[in-house]
């Protein structure tokens, strides 16, 4: 069965739609779903006021939501099973604390997408905001498992306090990628901003494009050609750095030599 929701008229203030998960929607009919109450600013309103809801016997996904949902927050929060397809942009906190299942977003997502997620997968066709796979304020760990694939670019503090799982980005990302990361793998194809791997204590960050800068706590650990990182074989020649020396244990930062010649120039010829 597929539940499809089509946005009709969305309010100018945020909609706290943590009810939009397959776990929550699948065993209800359209009428019941439209009666679910959501916080809209400081008022509680019925979901049916904002969406046309249909249930349909045959569909590829369990839940399909279409429309510009940039102000709809917490979609797929704590989702544990099933699949969810979003045709359009999504608001903040998409798939945060997710435990399983699959989310596919055709548009952009906002900040804290996949924050503190423990399992499942998120695929995003557009760009992502800040703290992709990151942690909330004060938490010791961000993402601990599962995977995020992003076709566009991500904002700042990608994978903040990440402790496990995998993030793969086809575009670039902002400053402080993998800040405080303690495990898992982050791959960025098109380069990152300033100070990648700051305060990192474990896991790996692989940058296949130009990096904005190197932190003072990055210790050069040699050149690796076609390395295997976190059991993933990579192609190319990488300079490896142990980061951050200001921390007690070590994460690993890999920079593709070919795209970082000027940054790596002080180390002499590497390939």
């Amino acid at each position: 069965m597929t539940v499809s929701l089509r946005a009709k008229e969305l309010p100018p203030v945020g909609l706290e739609a943590d009810c939009l998960t397959p776990d929550n929607l699948l065993d209800r009919n359209a009428e019941e779903i439209s009666r679910i109450r959501v916080w809209c600013g400081r008022r509680r309103m019925r979901l049916g006021r904002f969406f046309d809801i249909e249930t349909d016997a045959s569909g590829e996904f369990d839940v399909e939501i279409s429309g510009d949902l940039s102000r709809v927050k917490r979609i797929a929060q704590e989702m544990s099973t099933g699949s969810l397809h979003l045709l359009g942009h999504a608001g903040m906190h998409l798939g945060n604390s997710m435990k399983g299942g699959k989310v596919i977003v055709e548009g952009n997502v906002s900040s804290w997408c996949g924050a503190e997620m423990a399992g499942g997968s998120i695929e995003i066709g557009g760009d992502a905001g800040h703290y992709l796979g990151g942690s909330y304020r004060g938490s010791p760990k961000g993402m601990t498992g599962g995977s995020i694939h992003l076709r566009g670019s991500a904002g700042h503090e990608l994978g903040c306090r990440m402790a496990g799982g995998e993030i793969e980005i086809a575009g670039g990302c902002g400053d402080f990628a993998s800040v405080h990361q303690s495990g898992g793998l982050v791959r960025v194809a098109k380069g990152c901003g300033y100070r990648p791997a700051a305060s990192m204590s474990g896991g790996a960050l692989v940058v296949d494009g130009p990096a904005g800068s190197l932190i003072p706590g990055a210790r050069y650990a040699g050149v690796k050609s076609d390395p295997e990182i976190e059991s993933r074989p990579l192609k190319g020649i990488y300079a490896e750095f142990l980061c951050d020396q200001a921390e007690r244990t070590q994460g690993r930062l890999f920079l593709l030599v070919e795209r970082n010649r000027s940054l790596l120039a002080p180390l002499g010829p590497l390939d």
Binding site: Y136, R137, G138, S139, P140, R248
Partner: protein
């Protein structure tokens, strides 16, 4: 005049020797009365258990430490959330909750009086502001004096009269209830990056030892005739093998007798953290049997357990060096603070994991102490939020009351729990003993004559639970959500829900000035050169404890 008749409840009132008798409880004008008029509102409590309102002897609920921890732990807010209702304000936080959560949760468990365990004098005004915002419960604060520069100087110079005068001025200035000592001399040494190892070490820059601080303050406490004894957090908290230091400290008051009707000269807080054997974390063990045997054999000492509960906690203490060593072990986040010429503090979040050997030993130690010591000697506490948050009290009580449940948790804990003596202890607390360790004995140790019992003239603080003697099913849930709670004659909780939110009182102590007041004030003028604030701005004004009458003990000369 509001009158209330709590009829047909099964009453456990240890102070008055009432052990499970079915009786009526008349309440008039906020006090337990001898009888009420026929117009009194009658509530039938057939098949339910009635106890005095709970009195928590040691808990950290207000002040700068808690507030710093709230700032440091935004993630804690998200772990427990109660949305506001028509009556109650929004309440958040698991181990360091906001003030509303503290008041509501204590009330829902049937607690009506809570002692804040450690307040630095310089932060007393803020503490009183917070206390006045906590709904429902009565509260009081113990003021830190064990690392105070002027006090240490007086004691080192043998100026006992000036020291006594200073202590009495100090309690009035802070609107505090009694004297607290935390790691005597050690926190001061931490200001220089060190600690004291034993009770006969010299405190840096002061010609005094921890033993002399404890003896001195304890003597002053009795001379001032304060309602409660000195509350002591001995040296060496959390260190393997520290039980020897603890027993050595307790020996200091051997043979002395208290000045008042309370039994004790020293109340040892969170004894669990001071009852360890071994010499390192490798051979870390519980010495609870030794310590409990000692405690049972001594008349003038009481203690609270500081029992560990598995799960998240936030450790916070004026024992700065301990928090530093905990941070070095766990690498969790850390706050460290120095409070001018008085004390210091540290805060580190901590997770007690049932699968961790050290946590499991600590968990066993707390339970062993409570099961081996007599209920006259050891009282319930989790040193909230150090060994666990106070809302887990019902869980600890269930562990004490239900041996089968205890065994099932021992099975699920790290194997060290099965190697100790805990599995061999059969004892189960009954409701009378529960009432002792949470009510009558704690109120007695705190010198609160109107609390912790249901005799005529006592404050009408009453808690009623949906349970029956001997029935173990649902104990924890019943204790967590009291069926009925009366505070000062007003019904504040029905069926586990808060129904009224009066503001509680602040209990404090005012001593009369003695002969040496003027020369002490002269010293004080000089002493304030060490402070960042003026002496005139130091004392907490009486507006902060409006509506409360202080204790006024007679000084003994």
């Amino acid at each position: 005049m509001t009158e209330l008749l709590l009829a047909n409840g099964r009453v456990y009132d240890p102070k008055n020797g009432i052990n499970g008798e079915i009786m009526d409880l008349p309440i008039r004008a906020g006090k337990i009365a001898d009888r009420v008029s026929p117009r009194a509102r009658k509530i039938d409590l057939r098949g339910r258990v009635v106890m005095p309102g709970g009195v928590d002897v040691h808990s950290h609920i207000t002040g700068s430490k808690i507030n710093a921890a709230r700032i440091m732990r935004p993630e804690d807010v998200r772990r427990k959330i109660m949305p506001r209702t028509r009556l109650t304000r929004s309440a958040t936080g698991l181990t360091v909750p906001n003030l509303y959560m503290i008041g509501y949760t204590y009330a829902r468990m049937g607690y009506t009086t809570v002692m804040e365990g450690a307040v630095p004098a310089l932060k007393a005004r803020h503490t009183h502001e917070e206390m006045s915002a906590i709904p429902i419960i009565d509260k009081a604060a113990m003021i830190l004096l064990g690392n105070n520069w002027l006090m240490m100087r007086y004691l080192a110079d043998g100026e006992m009269e000036l020291a006594r005068e200073y202590a009495s001025w100090f309690l009035e200035a802070t609107k505090g209830y009694g004297i607290k000592i935390v790691n005597p001399g050690g926190t001061e040494a931490w200001g220089w990056g060190g600690n004291v190892e034993g009770i006969h070490d010299t405190v840096p820059h002061f010609d005094i030892t921890p033993a002399e601080i404890v003896e001195g303050l304890q003597t002053i406490n009795e001379e001032l005739n304060l309602p409660t004894s000195v509350h002591l957090h001995p040296n060496g908290l959390g260190v393997p093998g520290n039980f020897a230091t603890t027993l050595e400290t307790l020996d200091l008051v051997k043979g002395r007798t208290p000045s008042t009707h309370r039994d004790q000269l020293l109340h040892i807080v969170h004894l669990q953290f001071h009852s360890y054997g071994g010499s390192s974390w490798r051979d870390f063990s519980s010495q609870a049997d030794e310590v409990a045997k000692y405690l049972n054999s001594r008349d003038n000492i009481t203690a609270d357990a500081g029992a560990v509960v598995f799960g998240w906690s936030t450790t916070m203490t004026a024992d700065g060096p301990f928090e530093h060593s905990l941070q070095s072990l766990t690498h969790n986040k850390w706050t460290n603070a120095d409070v001018e010429a008085e004390t210091g503090a540290g805060i580190v979040p901590h997770f007690y994991s049932r699968k961790n050997a050290v946590s499991a030993v600590q968990w066993c130690t707390g339970l062993e102490l409570m099961l081996l010591a007599r209920p006259e000697k050891i009282y319930l506490s989790t040193d909230n939020p150090n060994a666990g948050p106070f809302y887990r009290y019902p869980h600890v009580l269930r562990l004490l009351m239900d041996r089968k449940y205890r065994e099932s948790l021992i099975e699920r804990a790290h194997k060290v729990a099965r190697r100790g003596i805990l599995p061999s202890i059969d004892r189960e607390y009954d409701l009378y003993e529960i009432s002792m360790i949470t009510r009558s004995q704690t109120a007695k140790a705190l010198g609160m004559d109107d609390k912790g019992h249901l005799g005529e003239g006592a404050d009408a603080d009453v808690s009623v639970y949906d349970m029956e003697p001997g029935v173990k099913k649902g104990i924890e849930r019943s204790l967590q959500n009291a069926f009925l709670v009366v505070k000062g004659g007003r019904i504040v909780v029905r069926d586990g829900d808060v129904t009224d939110t009066p503001s509680g009182r602040t209990l404090w102590t005012r001593c009369r000035p003695g002969k040496e007041r003027d020369s002490m004030i002269d010293d004080l003028r000089d002493h304030f050169k060490y402070y960042s604030i003026q002496r005139a701005n130091y004392a907490v004004a009486e507006e902060y404890v409006a509506g409360s009458t202080p204790n006024t003990p007679e000084v003994r000369d």
